[in-house]
């Protein structure tokens, strides 16, 4: 297969996994997901000669950089949107009880948010993208040993935050299906 064919196959196979990766990190800004994903694959297309045999962790690494750029690039528009959005919130019209408020999600997210960005990312890649240590290393652009060490430390810190928050034990229902599709 040519590089173009390999790229097209990776695009078809992993488009939705990359979309989930981006959506998980855009914190509900669903309207921006599609644009960032388009950017990820545009960058991946330019670098298609580098596409590894198992492309998904590599694509996550590209997506990670695109998200960082997106956060910077959206600055001006974001500020205006946020200002108008805050006005709206001040009017109390956006305050809607979320069904998620009662699920484990909210307090686990709070615990996660207390960690450093590096800790958060290694944990998200492991728990949400379900990458193994070697794959996490590809996504983060570090060695496997470093990835393993980061994960170990991040888990310990997350555990400490969870223990500190001491929430009511969550019900064990609604466990999502296992992520798949990565190589």
């Amino acid at each position: 297969m040519s590089n173009d064919e390999i790229f097209a196959a990776a695009y078809r196979e992993h488009y939705w996994a990359v979309s989930r990766y981006v959506a998980r990190r855009l914190d509900g800004r669903t309207s921006e997901v599609e644009e960032v994903v388009a950017e990820v694959f545009t960058v991946a297309w330019r670098r298609r000669a580098d596409l590894p045999g198992s492309p998904l962790p590599w694509l996550y690494g590209v997506a990670r950089n695109c998200l960082a750029n997106a956060v910077r690039g959206y600055g001006r528009r974001r500020r205006l949107v946020d200002r108008l959005g805050n006005d709206e919130t001040a009017h109390g019209r956006q305050i809607v009880a979320s069904p998620d408020a009662e699920t484990p999600g909210s307090w686990v997210h709070d615990a996660l948010a207390r960690l450093s960005e590096t800790d958060q990312e290694v944990l998200r890649l492991t728990a949400w993208e379900e990458l193994g240590v070697d794959e996490v290393a590809v996504a983060l652009g570090c060695g496997s040993r470093a990835a393993s060490m980061r994960l170990h430390r991040a888990r310990r810190r997350l555990r400490a935050e969870i223990d500190r928050m001491r929430p009511t034990p969550p019900s064990a229902d609604a466990i999502p299906a296992k992520e798949h599709g990565h190589g």
């Binding site: 790229f7 097209a8 695009y11 078809r12 939705w16 989930r20 959506a23 998980r24 800004r29 669903t30 309207s31 921006e32 997901v33 599609e34 644009e35 388009a38 694959f41 545009t42 297309w45 690039g73 001006r76 528009r77 500020r79 205006l80 949107v81 200002r83 108008l84 959005g85 006005d87 709206e88 919130t89 001040a90 009017h91 019209r93 956006q94 699920t103 484990p104 999600g105 686990v108 997210h109 996660l112 944990l123 998200r124 492991t126 728990a127 949400w128 888990r155 997350l158 555990r159 969870i162 969550p170 064990a172 609604a174 466990i175 999502p176 299906a177 296992k178 992520e179 798949h180 599709g181």
Partner: protein
């Protein structure tokens, strides 16, 4: 208690079996972008921006990058056909870059309640010779572009999408401003705003067959509840649409379909059942068409829906700033976005 990774797994905000981004075939837009990459024709910035449609919370659409806030103006010509001829302007022709103003509601007009309009539309839906639903769209839009270093500019475009029986379709986007036929218009292709000839082709593309059956690619339903669910899915929202979200979703629908009388009647009934839309009176839209205006006020912005008074068809949607945002070069009364849909 489960271990920390298990707890985190359960807190996945976008699970693979969730309502969005689940594995499966690519949707139409993802297919299109792949085609663009493979055939060396990266998506025109304008159409990529159009797809983005980052939304102001309860305010209106804002487009990304050179964030495209839109605005409107008063047109002189009635555009009833595809007007995509390239008109070369002579030297000295003043460019069509004047700042547009919001639509003005006629002071002496009697507003038609949306409920009455929806009833009218319903009667029209069963009339002989009523227009049928057609896939594809024809829309003239004026958008406000923002950058960090320059004042906002207006970017007028006309977009025509036509579908063929084999499932393929063509999209043509030209720079044109029907208020000023023949005059050069602004474009920001390549990053810097510059004048191009009226009718300058921004993109002309043919796309291979697509069989996506998810909203907004699938035909809109004819019942209000079905349409409401359809619009929610088309706009990628998990929860019941707010009024401004609903307006955005209707715009999304009209960017894909040219509605027939039945579909217009369903949309009109859905809007009549929607809270917060205030009847304002008669306006003449930017293409010279008379319509009834219905307004939704959000903090900082105002949305104005323009509907055909006899058929209930949505003619246009305007978003206007109601307070100045000096930091962004925006004044109260600047129109952020105007779309005028045609058959």
């Amino acid at each position: 208690m489960a271990d920390e990774l298990e707890l985190l797994r359960r807190a996945d905000p976008v699970p693979v079996d969730g309502p969005h981004y689940g594995d499966g075939p690519l949707d139409h837009r993802a297919e299109r972008r792949l085609e663009e990459l493979l055939h060396g024709r990266p998506a025109d910035r304008r159409t990529r921006l159009r797809r983005l449609r980052a939304r102001l919370p309860n305010g209106g659409p804002v487009r990304a990058h050179r964030a495209r806030l839109a605005w409107g103006l008063a047109a002189t010509a009635v555009v009833t056909a595809v007007t995509l001829t390239l008109v070369v302007s002579g030297p000295g022709t003043p460019p069509a870059v004047a700042a547009p103003r919001p639509l003005v509601v006629q002071a002496d007009s009697t507003p038609v309640p949306l409920d009455a309009l929806a009833d009218r539309a319903q009667r029209q839906a069963t009339a002989e010779g009523a227009p049928p639903l057609r896939k594809g769209t024809h829309v003239q839009s004026w958008s406000l572009g923002m950058s960090d270093s320059e004042p906002p500019i207006t970017l007028p475009t006309e977009r025509v999408v036509r579908w063929k029986a084999d499932g393929s379709h063509t999209e043509l986007v030209v720079a044109t401003d029907p208020r000023h036929p023949g005059r050069p218009v602004l474009d920001d292709g390549g990053g810097d705003p510059h004048l191009v000839e009226d009718g300058h082709v921004l993109t002309r593309q043919t796309y291979p067959p697509s069989w996506s059956d998810a909203p907004p690619e699938s035909p809109p339903p004819h019942d209000v509840a079905g349409l409401r669910a359809y619009l929610q899915e088309a706009a990628s929202y998990h929860t019941k649409l707010t009024t401004p979200e609903l307006l955005d979703a209707v715009a999304e629908l009209l960017d894909h379909w040219t509605l027939g009388a039945r579909e217009s009647a369903t949309v009109a009934r859905l809007l009549a059942d929607t809270q917060g839309l205030r009847q304002a009176g008669q306006v003449t839209d930017r293409l010279g068409r008379r319509g009834q205006a219905y307004v939704y006020d959000a903090p900082g912005t105002r949305r104005m829906l323009i509907m055909d008074p006899s058929t209930g068809a949505v003619l246009g949607l305007e978003t206007t700033f109601t307070k100045a945002e000096p930091e962004y070069g925006v004044e109260a009364g600047d129109v952020m976005d105007y779309n005028a849909w045609m058959r």
